[in-house]
Amino acid sequence: MTKTWEVFRFELGFQMSRVSTRIYFALFLSLALLMSFAIYMDARHDGYFFNAPIVTSLITIITSMVSLLVTSGVAGDAATRDGQVRIDSLLYTTPLRKASYLAGRFLGAFAVTALLLLAVPLGLLLATRVPGIDPAALGPLHVEAYLTSYFLFALPNAFLATAVLFSLATISRSAVTAYAGAAVLFFSAFITEGFIGAKLGKWGLAKLLDPLGYTPLHALWMSFNTLQKNTLLIPLDQTLLSNRLLWIGVAIAVLAIAHLRFRFAYATGGRTWRRTAVSEETPAIRWTGLTIPAARRVFGPATRLRQMRAVAMRSFRELVMSKAWLLVPLTAILFVSTAAEVLEVELGTPGAATTARVAEVLAAGELARMIAILIAISAGELVWRERDARMNAIADVTPVPEWLSFLGKFLALGLMLALTEAIFLASGVGVQWMMGFAPLVDLGLYVKTLFGFQLIGFLLFAALAMVIHVLVNQKYVANVLAILAYVALQMARELGVEHNLLLYGGAPEWTYSQMNGFGPQLTAWGWFTFYWSGWALLFGVVTYLFWMRGEERGLRTRLAFARRRLTRGPAAAGALALAIIAGAGGFVFYNTNVLNRYSTDAEQEEWRAEYERRYGRYASLPQPLLAATKLRVDFQPQRGSAEIRGSYRLENRSNTAIDTIHLVTSPSVETSGVTFDRPSRVTLHDQDFAYRIYSLGKPIQPGESVHVNFAVRHAPRGFTNRGRSDAVVGNGSWIQHRAEQAHGARQWLPFVGYQTSRELSNPGARRKLGLRERKDIPPLEDVAARSDPRGREKIALETIIGTDAEQTGVAPGELRRTWSENGRRYFHYITDAPITNSYAIYSARYAVQRAKWRDVDIEILHHPAHTRNLGRMLQSVRASLDYHTRHYSPYPHRQLRLVEYPSTGRGLGLTSFPGLIEYSEAFALVRPEDDARKIDFPFAVMGHEMGHQWWGHQLMPALVEGAPVLSESLAWYSAMMVIEETHGREHLMRLVDIMRSEFLAPHMTAEVPLMRTFDRFDAYRVGPFAMYAMRESVGEEQVNAALRTMLAKYDPARTPFPTTLDLYRELRAVTPPAKHALLKDLFEEITFWNLRTKKAHARPAGNGTYRLTLEIDAEKLKGNALGRERPVPMHDTIVVAAFDAAGKTIYRQEHPIRSGAQTITITVPGAPARAGLDPDHALLDRRPEDNDVATGFSPSPAG
C-alpha cells in the first residue's frame, strides 16, 4: 500500500509540476467561462437563468467530454512515460508489485484529471461574478447544483475515462491508442443519443448506454420548461443512478483487464502476439576493412523532390498505420451499417440515397468533427514524430532543409485526408449500391463535394493545426488548443462572432439540390475560401520559420532562427499570402458589407426592436384590408433577378374614414413606384426600416376601396456573408407571400399597416432591448384578438408570370392563358374563389402529371427525374378530396396543384396554400416501398396537407392560444380518417404506433392543456390523438358532425374567428353526458393514463365460448405547468378487447374502470389469444406496450 502511495504521490507530483497541467487548468476554466457566456446569451434570450442547476450540469458534462482530450494525454502519459524515457527496465527490477505500480499510476492520473476538472465549477462560479450581468438572467446560487455536477458527472466521467484510456495505453504501450479511445468515448455520447435514442427510439437503453451521461442529462434538458430549468435540481433518479453505476462498474472491469494483460517486463517491439524475436549474435571480431562503395550525392531540385516524396510517404505511412487512424475505416463501416437509419426522414421513413444526400451526410457535422480531431492529433504526431522516437538528433543533421520537412509532412497530412475522403467516397457508393441506388451514383458529384469542398476545408484546418503545434511546441497542449480552436470556430456564432471573414475557414455553406445543382453559393464559397487559403499560406510560412530543428528551444533563439530563415523565398510567399488576404478579403468585404448590408444577429434584433419603437404606436391604427392582388412577375432565372409590378385593392371595412396608408416593404428588394388611384403624398419614407406613410388627398370612406400600385425589384449584387440569395435561381425559383409572417427573404411584396410579426417575440430578447413585455400569443379569452381581421383577409389573386422559354410558371388559381413572346413564356392565373392572403409563385423546368377528381384538375409539377412517389401523392389527394367533401364541405377550387421546389437536406418542407401544396425534393424521394413497417408515408403526409385545405384555409382559427389545434391537429385527425378509409384500420394503427413512439423521446413534460397549447408537439401529436380518442368513444359521424358545424358556423369572411373553445363546445354537443368527463380530460386538462393488464386467464365455458378473467391495474394522472404529475381517482369507461390467434377482434366493449388493481370477467365467443385494455391506445399512456397480454388457459371447463 505504501508503495502504491509512493507511485501515486510521484505521479501526482510529476503531473502537477508540469507546465501543461497548469495550462489545462486555465483552459478548463476559460472553457467553462466561455460556455457560460454562450449560454448566458441564450438564457437571456429565452428567459431562463444561465446558472440554473441543469445548465451547470450541462456545461460540466460538456467540459468533461472535451476534457477527454486532456485525460487521454495525462492517462496515456502515465501509462507509457516509463517506457518512453526508458526507465522501465530500471523500474521493473525494483521490488514493486505490478498492482501497486499500476494502481499508483492510475490513481495519480485520475487525481490529476479530477483536480483539473475542479476548474469547471470554479469557472462557472466566476461567470456569475462577472460585473454587468443582467440580474434577470442570474438565478440564486445553488451549492448543491455544483456538487451534483461535479460528483455525479465530472468525477465519474473522469474515473471512467482515466480507467479506459489508461488501460488502453497500458496494454498497447502507446499513448496514441488513448486518443483513439477518447474519440470513441466522445462520440459514443452522440451515438447513444442520436442513434439509439433519436433514431431507434430506444431512449431507455440510450440513457443507460451513454458512458458519459450526456444522453440522460440532455433528455432532461429537452423535457424541462423554463420554470423547471430555473427551479429544479438534477434528480438522482433510477435512470441516472443506473447509468452512473453501470459505467463505474465498467471502469473497474477495464482496470482489472489491464492488470491481467499488463506484463511487468521490458517492452520488446512489435505486438505481443507477433513479437519479432531478434537473435543477438556476436559479430565476428575479424575486421574486414571498410568496404562502403562511393555513392554520388546530389543536391538539386530533383533531389529535393525525391526527398519530399520520401518524407511525405514515410510520414503518410506512419499516419495511416497509427491506431488513431483506424477511426476512419471504422467510421466508414459504421456509416455503411447505419446509413439506412441516417438517411431516414420524419417518422423513420426510409429516405433517398441520392449521391447529394449521401455526400451531405458524409460531409456533415459529426464526421467532420471527428476528422478535425484526427487532423489536430495527426499534425502533432507529424511535428513530434522524430522527437517522440528520440531520433530527432539523427534526423536533424540530414541535409534536408526545414521547408522540405514541413512541406513533406503537410503533404502526408493531405494524403491522409485524401485517403480518408476516398474511403468515405467508397462507403458512400457502397451505401447507394446496397440501397438500390446504384444507377444514381454520381462520382463527379462525390469528387466535387468530398475532394472539393470538404478536403479543402480540412486542409485549411490542417494548416492551422500545424502552426499551433509548431508555435506551442508542447504536443498535448497544442492538441487541446487546436481542437479548442475548432470548437471555438463552431461555437463562434453563439458567441456573437458571425462574419465569415473573422472565422478561420468560414464560408457560406454549400448546398446541392437535384433541381438546381450547387446553385448560386459557389462563387461566394470560392472567394471566402481563397481568402482563407491566403491565411493558410501565411500559417505555412510561420510554420516554416518556427519549425523545430536542433536542440535550441528558447524563445529568443527560435525568434532568431525565424529571422534567419526569413529569406527571399519565404518572404515572397508571406507577401503573396498577405496580398491574397488583403485582395480577396477586400473583395469579399466589398461584397458582404458594401454591396450588401451586413448585420449580425444582434443587429437584426436591434433592427426589429427599433422598428417597434418607431412605429409600434401605429399597431392598432385602422387600415384598409386587402381584397384583391394583381401581380406581374418577371423571373430572370439565369441572372438570378426578378421584377414585379403589382396592385392591391384595399377596402375600408372599419367604420371610420381612413386618410393615411402605412406600407411596410421588404428589406430584401427595392420597392418603388407606389401610386394610388387618388391624390396622395408621402409623409414618411423611412428607408432603413422599410416603412412608408402616405396621406391620401381624399380619405377612404367605410366600405370604399382604393387601388395602390407598386413595383418590386430583386437584383442581388455580389454576395453576402451567407452567400447569395437563392430566391431566383437557374432552375427552381420561388417566392412567397404569407400574411402571418412579414419577414423572410422570399417575401417581397409590401404589407399594409404596421406588422406585429416583425417585432421581436422572444421575451428575454425584448427585455434585453428594453421593450415592453408582451404575451407572445394572446390568451384564449382575448375577445378583441378573436375578431382581429388583419392577416386573415380573403383575397382574389391574379398573376401573370414571365420566365425563360423552357420553364413553367406556377401560381394559385386557374391557368387562363399561356403564351410566348420575345423568347419568353408567360402564364396568366386567376383564382376561382377567394383565397387567404398566403400564396407562393414558382418557376422551374417542370414535368407535369395531370389527373382529375370530378371537376377538379389535379396537377403535380415535379422535377422530371422525381417520379417515385407521384402515384401515392395522387392517390392521397383523391382520397382526401373524397373524404373531406363527403364529411365536411365542398372543395372551393377547380384545381389543385402539388409543386416541387429545390431543397437540400432531409427536411420535407411541405406547405399547404389554398389550392396549392408545395413539397421539397427530399419528400419527392422518400422510399415508402422500402419501409419495413409498411406505412404509406407520402400518402399520410399529403393527406395532412390536404386536410389544411379545410382546416386552416376554410376554417381559419383566431390567432389566440390553441390555434394550431384547429389547423394542425384537425388536419392530422382528418388525414388519419382518410388513411383508415383507404388503407384500412391496421395501416392506421401502424402509423399511429410510430407517431406515438415520439412520446417516448424527450420532450417538454410541463404543458398547458391542449385547448391552450401553441406547442408543435401538442398540435401534431397530442391533439390528433385526443380527437381520435373522442372518435373511438363517441363515434366518427358524431365527431365529423361537430367539425361540419364548425365549418358552417364560421364563414372565414366574418369575424370573430373560431377558437378551441368553439371546437370544445361543438364536440360537447355531440358527446353523451357520460363522456363529458373524457372530453374535459383530453382538452381542458393534462391527463395521462397508466393502464396495465397484468394477467389474462381463460377457461372454456361450453359452446366454444370462454370465460376470460383479466387482472388489471389502472392509474390516472393529471399534469401541471411544472411537469409534476399527481394521481387522481379514475372513473372512466375504457375499451376492453380480446383477440383470437389470428389477431381478429372477438370482443370489444367499454367497461367502467377505476383506479388501482381490479379484475374483470367476461365471456368471449372464441379462444382468446391476447386481451387487455384500450388496445388501440386511444388514451395517452406512456407505457402502451403493457395494455394487453397473452392469455393463459385452464384445461377443463369450470367445475
Partner: protein
C-alpha cells in the same frame, strides 16, 4: 590536409546558469580526434554544436571554408553524427529506414543507394536482420544501426558521441577499427570517457572538464611527457589517506585485497615506489587533478 575544423572561443551558458562551454578553442586536423572528459564535462554540448544542433553564445566554428553556425545547410551535406543517446522508429524495418535516410542524404540514384545500404548493413553486421522491425533490436544493434546512418553519404566530418558505451567488447573493437579507417580521409571526432578508446586510435586528443579544454595533445607525446614521473606501489588500505595527503595521487586500483597506487612525481617519492611506464590514463588523471597543468594554463603538447 586542408579540411580542418577550427573552434575559436566557443562559449555556451544554459538558461539554468550552467556554463557548458567556456572559451573553448581547438584545432582539429584530419584523422581521428578524441575528446576525453568525465560525464557532464560539456562534451555532448560541444559535439551537438559541431553537429549543427546547438548554437554557441559566442565563438566560431569553421570546417574548412564553412562556418558551421551560419552555414548549417552546407555542413550537413558533409556531416555524419551519432548522438550519445537516441531511439529509432520501432515499427520500421532496418533496411527501409536506412534507405529513407539515404534519400535524405542525397543519394538519389536507386542502384547506388541499394549498394550503399547493403554495404553499410553488412559492415555493421545487420544484414541478416535487416527485415526486422527496429523495435526488436537490442541496444547494441540499435547503436550499430545508428552508425550505419551516420556513415551514409561518406561524411567528411563524423561526430560520434560516446559511441562505445553500449557495445560489448568485440563490437567495440570492430567499431573503433571502422572509425579509424574513416579517419584516414575525414575528420572524425569521438567523444568518450573511456581512455582506451582514445589511446588506441586517436591521432590527436583533448581533455575537457567543466566546459574548459584542459589539454590538447597527441596521445603518444602526451604520454612521453610523463615518462619518468609515474610511480607505483602497493599499500594497505589504511595507508591510503596518508598517501593521498603526501603525494599527487593519480589512481588507485584494488589488487587482491590491497591497493595499488600510482602517483605523479618528478623524482622517486620514496623507495617503496618504483617507476612505471606512463600511459594515457595517467595523463588523463594528472590533467584532471591539475598536476599536468602546472606548466601552463591550457597545455599544448608537441604542437
Amino acid at each position: 590536409m586542408s579540411f580542418e575544423l577550427r573552434i575559436e572561443h566557443l562559449s555556451k551558458t544554459y538558461p539554468n546558469g550552467v556554463k557548458a562551454l567556456q572559451d573553448v578553442s581547438l584545432t582539429i586536423p584530419g584523422g581521428m580526434f578524441g575528446l576525453l572528459g568525465p560525464n557532464g564535462a560539456g562534451k555532448s554540448t560541444l559535439m551537438r554544436m559541431l553537429a549543427t544542433l546547438q548554437e554557441p553564445d559566442e565563438g566560431t566554428i569553421r570546417l574548412g571554408e564553412l562556418d558551421i553556425v551560419r552555414q548549417k545547410e552546407a555542413v550537413r551535406e558533409t556531416l555524419g553524427y551519432l548522438p550519445q543517446d537516441f531511439g529509432v522508429y520501432r515499427n520500421v524495418a532496418a533496411d527501409k529506414l536506412l534507405e529513407h535516410f539515404a534519400i535524405l542524404e542525397g543519394i538519389t540514384h536507386r542502384g547506388e543507394r541499394k549498394a550503399v545500404v547493403e554495404a553499410l548493413l553488412r559492415q555493421t553486421n545487420l544484414w541478416e536482420v535487416r527485415k526486422q522491425k527496429l523495435g526488436g533490436y537490442s541496444g547494441g544493434m540499435r547503436q550499430r544501426f545508428g552508425i550505419a546512418i551516420a556513415l551514409l553519404g561518406n561524411p567528411k566530418l563524423l561526430i560520434v558521441d560516446e559511441p562505445t558505451a553500449g557495445l560489448d567488447p568485440a563490437e567495440r573493437v570492430r567499431f573503433l577499427n571502422l572509425l579509424s579507417e574513416l579517419g584516414e580521409n575525414s575528420v572524425v571526432i569521438l567523444s568518450t570517457h573511456i581512455v582506451e578508446d582514445v589511446s588506441e586510435l586517436c591521432t590527436r586528443m583533448a581533455i575537457i572538464n567543466k566546459g574548459r579544454i584542459l589539454l590538447e595533445a597527441e596521445p603518444l607525446p602526451a604520454v612521453a611527457e610523463m615518462q619518468g614521473r609515474v610511480w607505483e606501489r602497493v599499500v594497505a588500505r589504511e595507508e591510503l589517506p596518508a598517501i593521498e595527503r603526501d603525494y599527487d595521487l593519480l589512481s588507485t586500483k584494488l589488487l587482491s585485497g590491497r591497493t595499488l597506487v600510482r602517483v605523479c612525481s618528478d623524482s622517486q617519492p620514496s623507495p617503496a615506489f618504483h617507476a612505471v611506464e606512463p600511459d594515457l590514463q595517467d595523463v588523463y588523471f594528472s590533467v584532471m587533478n591539475g598536476h599536468y597543468a602546472r606548466r601552463g594554463n591550457v597545455l599544448q603538447v608537441a604542437r
